[in-house]
C-alpha cells in the first residue's frame, strides 16, 4: 500500500504522452487517414455495386404493389389496424350511427399472390393493448345439483338464469345472489338459455331434444319447438327478428319462428355436433361452431352457408360476438385455439395464443375484454383488440369436490359488462367482478 501511494498517478502521465504523440505525428497522420478513407469508400462502393446491383430495386410487381410505403409513409399519420373501443358512451353511439363504410369486395376476388402476402411482413401495424383492470372472484353461489351448463342474464340486469345437469333452471338475483325461482320441466341437462329483450320470455334448450319457451309472467312453459333429432346444445335469439336459432347434436342448426313454432330453416352442412350458435343483426346473422372443427357463417334469409372457416384444428365449442365491433371470436382446444374473425366475410384477424386447454366458453363485453374458460378450470382474460392476455387464473373448485371438477362450462357478462358469471363443473356459479382502479 505504501509503495503504491509513493508512485505517481498514471492518468496524468498517459494524457501527457498522448498529447505529445499527437503533436509529433499530427501532419503525417492526417494525410494518411484521409487517403485510407477514400480508398475504403471506393472499395465499398465497388463491392456493393458488384454484389447488390440486381437487388437494388424491388421487382416491378412488388414496387407497384408497395406503392408509397417507403419514403412517403412517415408523413401520413399512422393508421392503426384495429382501433380500440372508444372510451365514453356518447362517442361510441356516434360511431355506430355514423354512415357505414362501403361494402368491401371479398378477399377471393381481389388479385393477390402468395409472394405479395408474404412480402411485407415488416410493415406490421402494432397497436398497444388498452388497460383493463384485473378481475377477481366475488361470489360463489351453490344451489345446483349438477354441472351448471348454461347461463343467461336478463336484459334489465336484475336477475340471471342458470341451467344445470340437474335438469332445473334456476333464476337468481344478480345483486344479492339469492335464488328467486326454480323452473322444472326439462328431463335432461339444460344446455342453453336465453332471455328475450323484446318479450317476457325465457328460452331454454336441453339434451332431451326439447326447446322450451317459458312465459316469465306465469312461469310456465307456453311453447315447445319440436324437431331436433338429438340433444340441443345451444340456443340464440335474433336481436331484431322474432326468430330463434337452436343447434345440437344432430349436426344441424334450426331456425324457428318464435310465435308459430314453425321451423323456418334447417341449417345443415356441419358434419358433427354443433356446439355453439350465435346471432347478430347484420350479415352473417347466424354463426355456428361445430365439433367438425369448422365455423360456418350463414345467410339467414336463404338458409345457406356464406363462409366456412376451416382454420381450427379441433372442435369449436365456443363463439363470442363483440357487441360493438363487427367481429367475432371462436375457440377450440389446443394451442392457437382462439381466433378472431372480421365479420361480413369471415376474414381471419389473429390468434389469441396461450390458452392451452379445451375452451368451453367465451364471452366479450363492450370494453373489449374477452373471457375464455377452459375445461380444466383455467380462466383467461384477453384484450380483444390486440389479442394479448392481461390476466389468467384458475378456477378453484368448492371444498368437498374433486380436483377434476374444476372446469368452466358457461359464462356471460352482465349487461353492464362489469361482472362475469360463470357456471362450473363443481356445481357452483361463480361471479367475477372488475377490480376498481
Amino acid at each position: 500500500m505504501s509503495v503504491d501511494a509513493s508512485l505517481p498517478a498514471l492518468d496524468g502521465l498517459l494524457r501527457a504522452s498522448g498529447k505529445r504523440t499527437r503533436a509529433v505525428f499530427e501532419a503525417s497522420l492526417n494525410d494518411r487517414y484521409g487517403e485510407d478513407d477514400i480508398i475504403a469508400r471506393t472499395r465499398l462502393a465497388v463491392k456493393i455495386r458488384d454484389e447488390y446491383a440486381e437487388a437494388k430495386d424491388l421487382p416491378a410487381a412488388l414496387q407497384a404493389q408497395q406503392g408509397g410505403v417507403g419514403p412517403a409513409r412517415p408523413k401520413q399519420p399512422e393508421r392503426k389496424l384495429i382501433t380500440g373501443p372508444v372510451a365514453d358512451a356518447t362517442s361510441r353511439a356516434i360511431a355506430t350511427i355514423a354512415p357505414p363504410t362501403e361494402r368491401r369486395e371479398s378477399t377471393l376476388t381481389s388479385s393477390s399472390t402468395l409472394s405479395k402476402a408474404l412480402a411485407l411482413h415488416k410493415t406490421q401495424r402494432v397497436t398497444q393493448p388498452t388497460y383493463h383492470p384485473q378481475w377477481k372472484l366475488t361470489r360463489v353461489i351453490s344451489g345446483h345439483l349438477g354441472w351448471v351448463r348454461s347461463v343467461a342474464v336478463e336484459p334489465g340486469n336484475q336477475w340471471f338464469a342458470t341451467g344445470a345437469g340437474d335438469r332445473v333452471i334456476k333464476i337468481w338475483d344478480l345483486a344479492s345472489g339469492e335464488l328467486k325461482l326454480s323452473l322444472t320441466g326439462h328431463i335432461s341437462s339444460v344446455r342453453g338459455l336465453a332471455v328475450s329483450p323484446r318479450h317476457p320470455y325465457l328460452f331454454s334448450c336441453a339434451e332431451d331434444k326439447m326447446v322450451k319457451c317459458w312465459d316469465l309472467e306465469q312461469n310456465k312453459v307456453i311453447r315447445h319447438y319440436h324437431g331436433h333429432l338429438s340433444g340441443v346444445y345451444a340456443l340464440a335469439l335474433h336481436p331484431t327478428l322474432d326468430v330463434l336459432v337452436t343447434a345440437g347434436r344432430d349436426s344441424s342448426a334450426r331456425v324457428w319462428d318464435m310465435r308459430t313454432r314453425a321451423q323456418i330453416h334447417v341449417l345443415s352442412g356441419h358434419t358433427a355436433t354443433v356446439a355453439d350458435v350465435k346471432c347478430q343483426d347484420s350479415d352473417p346473422q347466424v354463426i355456428t361452431g361445430s365439433m367438425d372443427s369448422t365455423v360456418r357463417l350463414w345467410d339467414l334469409a336463404a338458409g345457406k352457408t356464406m363462409v366456412t372457416l376451416t382454420h381450427h384444428k379441433k372442435s369449436v365449442r365456443a363463439l363470442a360476438i363483440h357487441p360493438t365491433e363487427y367481429s367475432f371470436a371462436s375457440g377450440s382446444a389446443g394451442g392457437n385455439n382462439i381466433k378472431k374473425w372480421k365479420c361480413p366475410e369471415g376474414t381471419f384477424v389473429f390468434n389469441f395464443s396461450g390458452h392451452n386447454a379445451i375452451v368451453n366458453t367465451m364471452s366479450v363485453n363492450a370494453e373489449g375484454v374477452l373471457f375464455s374458460g377452459g375445461d380444466n378450470g383455467s380462466l383467461w382474460f384477453w384484450d380483444y383488440d390486440t389479442g394479448t392476455a392481461f390476466q389468467n387464473m384458475s378456477d378453484i373448485p368448492q371444498p368437498g369436490s374433486l380436483e377434476a371438477e374444476a372446469g368452466v362450462f358457461c359464462s356471460t357478462f352482465d349487461m353492464t359488462g362489469t361482472r362475469l358469471i360463470t357456471g362450473c363443473a363443481d356445481k357452483t356459479i361463480k361471479v367475477y367482478a372488475e377490480q376498481a382502479k
Binding site: 404493389q65 355506430t96 378477399t107 406490421q124 343483426d281 365479420c343
Partner: protein, 575 residues
Amino acid sequence: MAALAAALPAPVHASVRDADDDDEVPLQLAPKRVIPPYGQRRAWKPTAPEDFGDGGAYPECHVAQYPIDMGRKKTASGNTLALQVDAEGNVRYDAIAQQGHGKNRIIQSQFKDLVPLHKRTDISDDQRDMERPSEDEVQATADRTRAALEKLTNAKIKAAQPKNVPDSRGNSTFIRYTPGQQGDGGSLKQRIIKMTDVIEDPLEPPRFKHKKIPRGPPSPPPPVLRSPPRKATAQEQKEWMIPPCISNWKNNKGFTIPLDKRLAADGRGLQDVHINDNFAKFSEALFIADRHAREEVRQRALMQQKIAQKEKATKEENLRMLAQRAREERAGIAPSAPARPTAAEGKANMAGALGGYGSGSDDSGSEAADSAEDDDAVKVREEMRQEKRREREREMRMSNMGTEQRAKMLARQQNRDISEKIALGLAKPTMSKESMLDARLFNQESLQSSFGDEENYNLYDRPLFHGSSAAAAIYKARGAQGNEDGFGGGTEEGISRALDNDRFGLGVAKHRFEGAADQEVREGPVQFEKDTGDVFGVDEFLNEAKRGTKRGLDERDGGAARKKQQLDRASERDE
C-alpha cells in the same frame, strides 16, 4: 415517335374515348382462320367447325375430323372444369372449390386467408376496420330477412293447416254426352251425365306410402386451411392410456391379474390405519390383566396339585400299611399296634439274622424256658426265609420276563387298572348320565322328519312345538280364575284401575257363550286335529271309479221305470 413517347411523362388521366370515335376499330380481333389451299394441307389440322367451311372432311388430312361436329362425342358436360385465370394471368386453382356454390359464397382457399389481417397487403386500410353497419343497414337487412322468412313461414303454416277438406255436398258437374256410335236405332241420342267427386274420409289413412327421397349430393367440401392432425407420439399415447376396467367378479377374457395389482386396485392399502392411543392402552391393560389372571390360575393349580400329591402320598402310605398288616395277618402274626410294626419287624429280622448263625450268646441258664421261645423264633425265621425265597423267585421271574410283559407290569405298578382303582375306591363313577350329555341336543325338531315327501300334503303333520316346553312358555292359559295379572293383581285398587282402563267391558265376559262352561279349561294352545273324514266325498268318488261302476248304472232301474211310465202315459193318451 417512340423515343418521344418514352421521354414524355406518363399521362395522369386516361384518355376519354368519344362515343362517335369510329376510327378506333377494336384491336382485339380473333385471327381469321385461313384454310390452306389444296395441296398445301400437309401440316394442317382442321379442328374448329369453321375449318370445314360448309363442306365435309378433308380426306388428305389424316386426323380425326368432325365437320359440323358430326360424330364428336359430347363430353362437354363432364365434370372437368375449364381452366380459369385471374386478372394477372395466374391460374385460379380454387375455381374447383367455388364450383357448385352460389355466386355470393365466399370460399377461403388461399394462403392469404391464413395470414393475420394486419399482415396482409392485399387489403386496404379501410377494409381493415371493423365498424358495425349503421342502423339503416341493419334495418335493411332485417327487412330483407323478415320478408324472406315470412314467405317461408307462411308456406309452412299453410302446409300445416288442413287443406283439401272434401266438400260434403260434393261438387257435381253435368256433362251432356252424345254417343258417337248411334248403333242401336237412336233409342238414346244424348245423355246428361252428372259427375261428382267421391267423398273421401278425411281420417282415412294414406293409401300410398310415402317414399323418402334420397338426399341429394352434399355441397362440395370447403378447402381445409389447417394442418393435418399430427400423429400422437408414444408419450401422448401413454398419457391417454386408460387401463381396462377389471371386475372383481367377472373375468370373461381371462386376463391374468397379479394379486398385488388386484389389491392395489381395490383400494385396500390406500387408507392408512390410524389406531387410537386409548385403544393401545386398553389392549395393553387387557394383556396385563390376562397375564396376571393366568399367573394366579397357574399358582392355584400348582398349589392344588401339591395338596393333591401330598394327600395321595398319605393315602398311599396308608394303603401300604394296610396291605402290610393284611399280609402279616395272613402270615399269622398278630397285628401289632399300628405304631410298632416297623420296630417288631426290625426285631424279628434281627432275631432271624442272629438265629441263622446259631449264636452262642443265648443264656444257657434259661434253656428250658427258652425252648418255647426258640420254637417261636424258628417259626419266624422259617417264615422270613419263605418270604425271602418268594421275593427272590419273584425277582427272578421278573428278570426272566419278556419286555412287553415287564412293560405291562410296570404300567400296572404305576397306573393301576381301573377295576383295581374301583376296588380301592380311587375311581368313582360319574354322578349322573344326563349331566354328561348336552341338553341342547334334546328337543330338536329334526329337519328330515318334519319335511316329508314333496307330494305329501301334510304341512302340519305334527303340532308346532311338539313335546317341548316351548308351548308352555309361550302360551299361558288365561282362565277366569287364578289369573292375577288380568285383574290388577287382585288388590282392590288394582282392580278398580283395571276397570277404569277396560272401557268397553271386554275384560270379563258377563254372559258366556252357551255351552262354554262345559268346556274344560284349556291348558295349552288350541290344537287342531287332522280331519280324516271325507268332506267332499272325493274318496268315495275315487273308490267308485276304482270299482268301475258307472254313474247312471245304479239308476238303471229307476230310468227304466220312468220310461215305462212314460210309455204307459202315452198309451193312455192314445186311447
